[in-house]
Amino acid sequence: MTPVIEIDGLSVDLGGRRILDNLKCSLSARTIGLLGPNGAGKSTLINTLLGFHKPAQGTARIFGHDVRTEIRAIRNLTGYMPENDAFIAGMSAVSYVHLMGELSGLPPEAALERAHEALFYVGLGEARYRKLGTYSLGMRQLAKLAQAIAHGPKFLILDEPTNGLDPPARQRMIRLIREMRESREMHLILCSHLLRDVEETCEEVLILKQGRIVHYANLEEERRSNRKFVEMETVGANGTFTGDIEKLGCACAITGNNRVKLILSEGVEIRDLFKVAADRNVQIRRLNFKRDSLEDIFLKAMESDAAPVSAGAKGVSNGRL
């Protein structure tokens, strides 16, 4: 599969500080999630992909276009929904989206037609002649989405799209993102603090911490693999117990509080686990089928002070369990 984003040793300095440090990854999913705590460098990465910041070292490519040399070509392909309020004073939503469509290169008539369509699509059809200043926060988020998609981009960057939305508005935004993903007309990159949003919409996830990639997960591959994840709460579990389970062919790890997480291999039944436990005198107090949530992955990535990960579509261990 052709990579959507290739980042090759990318470092970015801002205000004399290194914000992104030697990032390397190759991402090709239709929806890519970008996670990280505040100050991790998510927005800087997005801004660098849009050509707002110049790389200090290395480069990044979107659909093969280099951000250093072909930024206009990248912007031709891109739609961007910024995190903060971004509108033109005194304009109605339809004029705003119309203007943005024209600036993206659409002829005036086509831009106007698509402005109406985009506003209907995001659910602002009835309010499209109202001034943006009179919109609620949720409506403004939708208007920002409309301007980002009006020109039919092939690559859409959504920076915190569900910020400040109430649950129904958030659900609507998530549904729109999924619909756009399923239309197969564009690739999306979603930057969010909300793990649930990323989990619900993204196929690949990149976790940043202090300007470095600390984890890469291909959620879609995980979903497809249909592996059985089991979490056990035990008393007396130790290395011998996990060693015996691994002998059954299961990947296994002990986490804190005597919790054992494992992936059942083909042909291994739950009764085999109880048998091993009985042999090793380990009590199984509770047993759940549980897949690692994105939250587990995220927290683990945040806890680890591991060396930066080179992420990519090929040959990267997801590091799950």
Binding site: G105, G152, E185
Partner: protein, 288 residues
């Protein structure tokens, strides 16, 4: 996509040419500006002076025949159409152009900065230079319409009435009008845009524009008075322009500062404005 379908689809139609996109900004800006009745009324008022000057040209060229209607013969016209006449016209229209700039200019960039709109512009195939060109052309076109365009029409009318000989002998007036008006337009537009980008609040930017033109003039005179020097005039922007205009219109020069130093100062001011625009007009401001 028909509205009833309400599903997402890409766009595969034709695109406009990249170089022409800066003209989109003035189109939208004018739509917004002329919503204001005050603005529209003032803009119309700006054409009153050209009409009066047109009548004066008519009277000057037909004074003898008009006087003969009242049985007066051998009377000379009190109005002479020369460099002074067109310098007066330019001075008057320059003041109106300044008022128009003070009304329109401060809101051009400050509104976008205050509303965080710059990332929206620059995430598109639309550069900072195109953005500034677009915003500047709002003022350039508006101010051209009330300065050098009616000025050259007046020259044309005078030439048609006074004959080809007058035109060839006074071509420098047309040049002076054109160059002088453009100088004024460029300086006021650059200063207005730079202040609009710097202050981010249109009211403050408007006040600062007035301060740059009038307070600096007073400050320059104070420097001259206290230090008993003449270079204080160098920070008096209207004086700098007046100095150059007088040279262009071959009117008696004022001697506090030399023409090259006036040009140099205008270049410095222009460069400072461009630098300010370059620093401030960015998708994101990096806080150190």
């Amino acid at each position: 996509m028909a509205v009833y379908k309400r599903s997402y689809r890409g766009y595969a139609g034709p695109l406009t040419r990249g170089w022409s996109r800066f003209t989109i900004l003035p189109r939208y800006a004018y739509r917004d500006l002329f919503h204001s009745k005050i603005m529209t009324a003032f803009f119309v008022l700006c054409f009153a002076a050209p009409l009066v000057f047109l009548l004066l040209i008519y009277f000057a060229n037909n004074f003898a025949s008009l006087a003969s209607m009242f049985q007066s013969h051998d009377v000379k016209s009190p109005i002479t159409i020369n460099g002074d006449f067109f310098l007066t016209f330019l001075n008057l229209q320059g003041v109106l152009a300044f008022i128009l700039t003070a009304f329109v200019g401060p809101r051009l960039i400050s509104a976008d900065l205050a509303n965080g709109a710059l990332p929206l512009y620059f995430s598109r195939p639309f550069s900072r230079a195109e953005y500034i060109a677009g915003k500047m052309s709002v003022l350039l076109m508006l101010l051209s319409l009330i300065t050098w365009i009616p000025g050259l029409i007046l020259v044309g009318v005078q030439a048609s009435m006074a004959g080809r000989a007058w035109l060839f002998a006074n071509l420098w007036i047309a040049w002076g009008l054109f160059a002088g008006a453009w100088l004024w337009i460029l300086v006021t537009s650059l200063v207005a845009l730079a202040l609009s980008a710097w202050v981010k609040w249109k009211i403050a930017a408007g006040a600062l524009l007035l301060a740059v033109f009038f307070v600096s003039a007073g400050f320059g005179d104070a420097i001259n008075g206290v230090l008993e020097v003449r270079w204080g005039k160098l920070i008096n922007l209207p004086y700098l322009l007046e100095t150059i205009w007088r040279k262009l219109f071959r009117v008696q020069e004022i001697s506090d500062i030399s023409i090259p130093s006036a040009w140099m100062m205008l270049l410095v001011i222009g460069a400072a404005c461009l630098f300010l625009l370059y620093r401030k007009v960015r998708a994101f401001e990096v806080v150190r």
